[in-house]
């Protein structure tokens, strides 16, 4: 029977779901609603090649603009979905139009956390999420211009690297002891701090921004420890929060994003979620996980679409992401929050290593710096949830593939 499939969120996850619904033979209409005016695009280039002016925006489109119409996907772009009525089964847009659905996907993603300290309303303070944000930062780029990057998570680290590559004078400030401290820990984080310093970034750790100063436009940043950093502009990357407002009053369970089971379905049958917003049950790690990365948006968007078609395929992808900074390729696979052992293949200070985060004798995750092949070869070892010989993991002469079936 023909159904109305509606996707809220013109995101990578949403667009991938729409395309997958069509590829897998959805009988009925497929409607994609996106708040941004552009056709769905990928965000990784916004902090890297696009920000540096090396690739045009078109290269970031999930599909060419004309693709959707040609493939039977209706789009409503530049309109925001305002509320959902799960019993009458419609989505109401902010212009009061109503879009009926039989099966609904929430792919609303995240929004940036905002800094709220004295001076945060000054001009010249940016965050990065959309292509418009990237364009505003791009317009500030100039050799010798001074930028303060607030936060050294993925976005802050990548922006610091890109701006340094463009010849700016970069100061990066981070409350933790290292970049990506919470995810990767101190030992690996220190290597990333080294990387930034080697490229001429001035790094300030264990300090935070107390105030932005300036007349109309920011001209300096004052830190809690009392440093005053003169600057021409600021980029803040202090984290994100899932966009769940639309679910108010729907009965859909929300807890650190939209809670979904391993079939990407929410607590309300017929309503699914995927991508950054989805706090999903992961059958390999046997817990709820919410991931804010490209690979999950692609894979979970597709998985949600299959489940929307009634295929009942569990989403059990091992999470994976990359972060290119300068000429270094950082990759991570798996999921960990704590570890009792860090096994390292190669040397942490060598510019090329693979580190295994081991908990209770099992590999929960790996991180590799310039070790892309090893990261990929480690994924089956994570998936296996087995005890492994630590010496073999650390022995460069042992091909990780030889441990897959062992």
């Amino acid at each position: 029977m023909a159904k109305a499939y509606v996707i809220v969120g013109g995101s990578l996850a949403g667009a991938t779901a729409a395309v997958t619904l069509r590829e897998e033979g959805a009988d009925g209409s497929v409607m994609l609603i996106g708040a941004e005016g552009e056709p769905p695009y990928e965000r990784p280039p916004l902090s890297k090649a696009y920000l540096r002016g090396e690739v045009p925006f078109d290269k970031s489109l999930v599909r060419p603009a004309a693709f959707y119409g040609e493939h039977g996907v209706e789009t409503m772009l530049g309109v925001r979905a305002a509320r959902i009525d799960p019993s009458a089964k419609f989505v109401e847009l902010d212009d009061r139009r109503r879009v009926p659905f039989d099966v609904l996907l929430i792919a609303t993603g995240c929004r940036n956390r905002r800094i709220s300290i004295p001076g945060s309303e000054l001009e010249g303070i940016y965050s990065l999420r959309t292509v418009e944000d990237a364009d505003r930062i791009k317009a500030e780029i100039g050799v010798g211009r001074r930028v303060v990057v607030v936060g050294m998570g993925f976005i802050g680290s990548e922006v610091a690297a890109s701006l340094r590559q463009k010849g700016l004078d970069v100061v990066a400030i981070e409350p933790a002891k290292t970049p990506l401290f919470r995810v990767l820990g101190e030992a690996v984080g220190q290597r990333l701090a080294d990387l930034h310093r080697a490229h001429g970034v001035r790094t300030i750790f264990e300090d935070t921004v107390a105030a932005f100063e300036g007349a109309q436009r920011v001209s300096s940043v004052l830190t809690k420890s009392g440093l005053r950093l003169e600057c021409d502009f600021v980029v803040a990357g202090i984290g994100v929060e899932p966009v769940v407002d639309i679910l108010d009053g729907t009965g859909v369970r929300v807890d650190n994003g939209v809670v979904v089971d391993q079939y990407c379905q929410t607590s309300v049958p017929g309503i699914y979620a995927a991508g950054d917003v989805a706090n999903h049950y992961h059958p390999v790690f046997e817990r709820q996980i919410r991931v804010e990365h490209w690979h999950n948006a692609v894979k979970q968007g597709a998985a949600a679409a299959r489940n929307m078609l009634g295929r009942a395929v569990p989403y059990d992808e091992i999470h994976w992401f990359w972060s290119d900074q300068y000429d270094a390729n950082l990759q991570y696979a798996g999921f960990h929050t704590k570890w009792d052992q860090l096994a390292v293949r190669g040397r942490l200070d060598s510019g090329s290593f693979l580190a295994f985060y081991i908990n209770d004798g099992r590999i929960d995750a790996v991180v590799g710096l310039n070790r892309a092949k090893d990261v990929r070869r480690a994924i089956p070892l994570i998936n296996a949830r087995r005890m492994l010989n630590l010496e073999q993991l650390q022995d460069e002469s042992v091909d990780l593939r030889s441990l897959h079936a062992a």
Binding site: E42, P44, A49, W294, H295, V298, W320, W322, N329, A372, K373, V375, R376, R377
Partner: protein
Amino acid sequence: MATEFVTATIKTSEIPAGGIVAVNVRGTQIAVANAGGSYYAFDDLCTHEQCSLSEMGELAGTTVTCTCHGSEFDVQTGKVLAPPATVPVKVYPTRVEGDALQIEV
């Protein structure tokens, strides 16, 4: 422009099973994959961000994964099997005579 088969500087015996090796054929860097005894030739540079597929690629069956960012290609046709790449990789016909590998460029 007319194409012709050119004998590569590498012999088939020098390409391990499941391996990918780069050869330079008339100024073009071409990757050759040995997929179960069949040899497939394609542009060495990933169409996403130009990583070398002979260096960064992992071959499984006839699928090459660019481990830099995860793009997957079918080495038989060049077709994109997984993003972020969107543009197919160019493939070149091959033929084997003895242990000589010939690539049509």
